[in-house]
């Protein structure tokens, strides 16, 4: 695992703790639309304040003032040919400066916002399995096509019934199982891979639970977007394990739509609070 992956793994440990502490009460206890609305409404002003302190507010103010001046010039001296030519250029330059002064804070904000989205995605992107539903578990193994195959088994648990598998996909070094959820559970699936025992989180239940689709390997990108579980080390016989969960159907807190709703709601909230917080954007 490279340094970046190790850093992200360490950060994930922190965000998981924070995420569980801060997000569990509203999301697990409220309806989806309400929890997403509350989080968005709180996050909008919070991000605005964050922006205020990591951006060059005076430079932004100057750029905005310059743009206002050029617009005013356009209005006042519309009969002047030279002003009519210069003012739009000045406006364009002002817009570029505004963009320049926004890029750095936006890039900085991208990190915490992405970490937050990764945590929120655990709740909203998929729903847990319901008892009676089937799904497929896929384990990716390390090695190449010539590497020997370790003995792989999934341990039985009262929460799930193993309906088919293990079935090996030789060309992709994968092992697959089909399982049927039997009862509500947050207990992990346990696998024996050679002499190594590995776990994968599993969520069965109604309503909202943290749903981790993938336990990733050493790729920093995968670790970033699948923060819930500890990644497999490079020397592990297992590269990753994934579980297919059903999509959540909701315009406000369902698969994919929750992100859209979050951005719109937080933007509206930020715009409402902007005059009170005196933030220049």
């Amino acid at each position: 695992m490279n340094l970046l992956a190790q850093i992200i793994t360490w950060i994930n440990g922190l965000t998981n703790t924070l995420g569980k502490f801060l997000l569990t009460p509203p999301i697990a206890g409220l309806s989806g639309w309400l929890s997403n609305t509350i989080i968005s409404a709180l996050l909008g002003p919070l991000l605005l304040i964050f922006f205020k302190y990591i951006s060059n507010q005076s430079a932004i103010q100057r750029a905005r003032d310059d743009m206002k001046a050029h617009m005013l010039a356009l209005k006042l001296f519309k009969d002047s040919f030279s002003v009519t030519l210069r003012a739009p250029w000045g406006l364009f330059q002002g817009a570029l400066r505004l963009l320049f002064h926004s890029i750095r804070p936006l890039l900085i904000m991208l990190v915490p916002v992405s970490l937050l989205l990764a945590q929120m995605g655990l709740w909203y992107q998929y729903r847990p399995l319901k008892p009676g539903e089937y799904t497929v578990v896929t384990m990716n193994l390390n090695g190449n096509s010539d590497s020997p195959w370790p003995a792989v088994t999934m341990k039985s648990t009262p929460a799930v019934e193993l309906t088919t598998g293990p079935v090996r996909i030789f060309s992709q070094r994968q092992v697959c199982w089909e399982i049927k959820a039997r009862q509500n559970s947050a207990e992990p699936l346990i696998f024996q891979v050679g002499d190594q025992e590995v776990e994968k989180e599993l969520a069965i239940g109604d309503g909202f639970m943290r749903v981790s689709t993938d336990r990733p390997g050493g790729q920093w990108w995968d670790i970033f977007w699948h923060p819930a579980e500890k990644p497999f080390s490079d020397d592990s016989a297992v590269q990753s394990i994934s579980i297919v969960y059903p999509e959540r159907l909701s315009w406000t807190s369902g698969t994919d739509y929750w992100v859209l709703y979050f951005f719109v709601a937080s933007l509206i909230s930020a715009l409402i609070f902007k005059p009170f917080l005196k933030v220049k954007i």
Binding site: Y134, V136, T138, S145, T163, T164, G165, P166, V167, R168, I169, F170, S171, Q172, C176, W177, E178, V244
Partner: protein
């Protein structure tokens, strides 16, 4: 039935004809909106009438089993006076029979005379009798695509599928009177007729195509499959190669035809199969889904997305299929069911109102939506073994039983009609009520699978028992079949007989669709029971003059055909009916001149259905399709059970609609010829 000689058989024709019934034009036009699924009460008296249609339930077998105490619930009805044989249609084919039921009158009113009709103006060009697709008119070209705008000022016409059945269906009278009717899997009603007053719900049954436009086309992949994909009646076979136990090249699943292309071609979905010999299992990867199957295991219904995109329009249609892993090694074999319309997101209108199917799917999930659900073609083409077909048919029945539970849950009053196809499509393949040699099975196997039919009757007896327990004292309950069943041991080639007797010329002719000299041909057979004169003024190349020449020819044909005997002296044809004697009404234009009614054990040969000729007139049936009902009307009556005593002495299908209307206190319309079965 696929034939080695390359000619089409009846079912293959039906499939190809139904290709004309490409449904997607019609369905996409559906605009009616169904308000909600709230329960409704009918206007006026809250009567309840329940009709259970059991296709092909035979009175002979039923009576025997009732006598043996094997059908206690049916027997209970019989002992209370609620049982009689039910006269079927001429001819006893399901589309004709159910149309008689629907109109309360004979084929002269609904215009359905056979599975197959012919266009006399095109000199016997065959077509599917129940529905037709009218091609679109006008379009703009945009690259390879055509753009059709069906609004002003463009006025292009989209293709649409039309129901050919004529006359007024009896539920229209209920609809008008504010009485609710609920039909599940109604035959001969695709596309479903529209409700004028909104008191009618219907899920189309027999006649509803799959997404390839036919009656159901399975796709089969095997290591010993043909190198080039081969179409066979009702299915297609392809070879599968493995590299490192993964299919290579990827397999292609054929989907609906993209009619947005100027030169329409089928859509395809690529998928991979990975096999694990040790686990005797496989993983199928298709459109981001992984499906794990053990050898002998069926998948659940899988949703598939077919891309019909065209310029500036992202158009997709959803279909569903099931995979069945038949064998992993030594010969990997994978069956894919016909691609059915997705009931949760239908691309075509298969219910009235269009949203009815979605309401059902919300509760029941995905299920078969084609008319022919039991894949008898897979058995006929030896893709399925007998046991595999029985298992698949069992799954279909379970889905229907789930649907019946849904139907009863959402039924308050009015008419509830529910249809079971299992007795028909399983009997075609498993019925063998004889000690004679079966076409394809040993005596022990034939007995075993005939017992399977008996068990099916017992299951349906239990279903009827449940309905009687729930509604016996609240509703009038009918259990009916459209016809009975008989062994199909010997085939009669009508056209060969006509050729040998000089009615078809030349003497070397092989098919009325290919090499007949119409200037010397006086009569020909097409469809399962139809015989047509080459009548001057009606057929394009007609030579038989109307009047005395026609009359003389008809009389001669009737007497000669009824005299036909098999090599053992057995009578082959029970009766030849003259259309002008047995049909009356406004819809007789396409009727055959004679309807050949076969004796039990006989039927028109497979080749006859599409005008083919063979060397011999009479030959053994060698198909797994070993039982049939396309005989004479007197040979294969259906059954009628009711929880009220039946007074009519010889009721027939045409009496059912009048009986139902009478139960609701409505008058019998003049268009109907039947009367209530509860009156003498």
């Amino acid at each position: 039935m696929h034939k080695d000689n390359g000619k089409l058989d009846r079912r293959e024709f039906l499939k190809q004809s139904a290709l004309t019934a490409v449904a997607f034009g019609a369905g996409l036009n559906a605009t009616r909106v169904y308000a909600s699924t709230k329960r409704r009460l009918s206007a006026g008296a809250a009567n309840k009438v329940i009709v259970i249609g059991i296709d092909g339930m035979d009175p002979g077998l039923s009576e025997r089993m009732m006598g043996q105490g094997l059908l206690p619930n049916f027997n209970r009805l019989r002992q209370a006076g609620g049982y009689t044989k039910l006269g079927t249609s001429i001819p006893p084919q399901s589309p004709v029979a159910w149309s008689n039921f629907i109109n309360g009158a004979g084929p002269g009113t609904h215009g359905i005379f056979d599975f197959i009709h012919r266009d006399p103006q095109k000199q016997c060009a065959p077509f599917f009798s129940i529905a037709e697709t009218v091609p679109g008119q006008g379009y703009w070209e945009m690259g390879d695509h055509k753009i059709q705008l069906d609004f002003w000022p463009f006025g292009h016409k989209l293709p649409q599928t039309l129901l050919r059945r004529q006359g007024t269906p009896f539920w229209d009278y209920l609809d008008q009177a504010g009485i609710w009717s609920h039909f599940y899997d109604l035959p001969a009603d695709y596309p479903p007729s529209a409700s004028k007053y909104g008191h009618h719900r219907c899920l189309s049954g027999l006649g509803t195509p799959d997404m390839l436009g036919g009656y159901g086309t399975y796709q089969h992949f095997a290591e010993d499959g043909p190198i080039r994909t081969r179409d066979e009646g009702g299915g297609r076979r392809s070879v599968i190669f493995f590299e490192n136990h993964t299919s290579k090249p990827p397999l292609k699943l054929i989907g609906p035809t993209n009619n947005f292309l100027i030169r329409p071609e089928p859509t395809t979905i690529e998928f991979l199969v990975h096999r694990d010999l040790q686990a005797r299992s496989a993983v199928i990867e298709i459109q981001g889904q992984k499906i794990l199957l053990r050898q002998g295991q069926w998948s659940r219904w899988i949703k598939l997305d077919f891309d019909l995109s065209k310029p500036a329009l992202d158009k997709h249609v959803s279909g569903i299929c099931r995979f069945y892993l038949q064998e992993v090694a030594p010969n990997f074999r994978l069956y894919v069911s016909p691609i059915n319309t997705d009931p949760s997101n239908p691309a075509t209108k298969i219910t009235e109102p269009p949203t009815f199917i979605k309401d059902i799917s919300k509760e029941l999930g995905l299920f078969y939506t084609t008319g022919f659900q039991e894949d008898h073609k897979a058995l006929s083409n030896k893709v399925f073994s007998d046991a595999e077909y029985a298992a698949q048919a069992g799954m279909v029945l379970q889905e229907r039983l789930n649907l019946l539970q849904y139907a009863m849950k959402h039924y308050d009053d009015g008419l509830l009609f529910f249809y079971f196809s299992s007795t028909d499509l399983q009997a075609h393949m498993f019925w063998w009520d004889s000690n004679e040699k079966h076409p394809t099975r040993s005596a022990a196997q034939a007995k075993h699978y005939f017992n399977h039919i008996k068990k099916l009757y017992q299951k349906l007896d239990a279903v009827v028992g449940d309905i009687l327990n729930r509604y016996g004292d609240k509703a009038t309950v009918f259990v009916m079949s459209d016809h009975g069943f008989a062994n199909f041991k010997r085939q009669f080639n009508l056209n060969t007989w006509l050729r040998q007797n000089g009615y078809i010329q030349p003497a070397q002719a092989t098919s009325v669709l290919a090499d007949v000299d119409w200037s010397r041909t006086r009569a020909y057979g097409l469809g399962i029971n139809g015989l047509y004169l080459n009548l001057k003024g009606r057929e394009r190349d007609g030579i038989v003059a109307p009047g005395s020449q026609r009359e003389e020819l008809l009389q001669t044909l009737v007497s000669q055909l009824e005299a036909v005997r098999d090599t053992n002296g057995q009578r082959v044809i029970r009766k030849v009916h003259r259309a002008d004697k047995v049909y009356s009404g406004q819809a007789t234009a396409l009727a055959p001149d004679l309807i050949v009614g076969y004796c039990r054990g006989y039927r028109a040969s497979w080749d006859t259905c599409l005008g083919g000729m063979t060397d011999e007139i009479l030959l053994d049936n060698d198909s797994a399709w070993s039982a049939d009902h396309c005989a004479d009307v007197s040979e294969v009556p259906g059954v009628l059970f009711s929880n009220k005593p039946i007074a009519a002495r010889a009721p027939a299908l045409v009496d059912m609609a009048p009986s139902i209307l009478t139960e609701f206190g409505l008058n019998i319309p003049d268009s109907m010829v039947g009367k209530s079965v509860f009156k003498t």
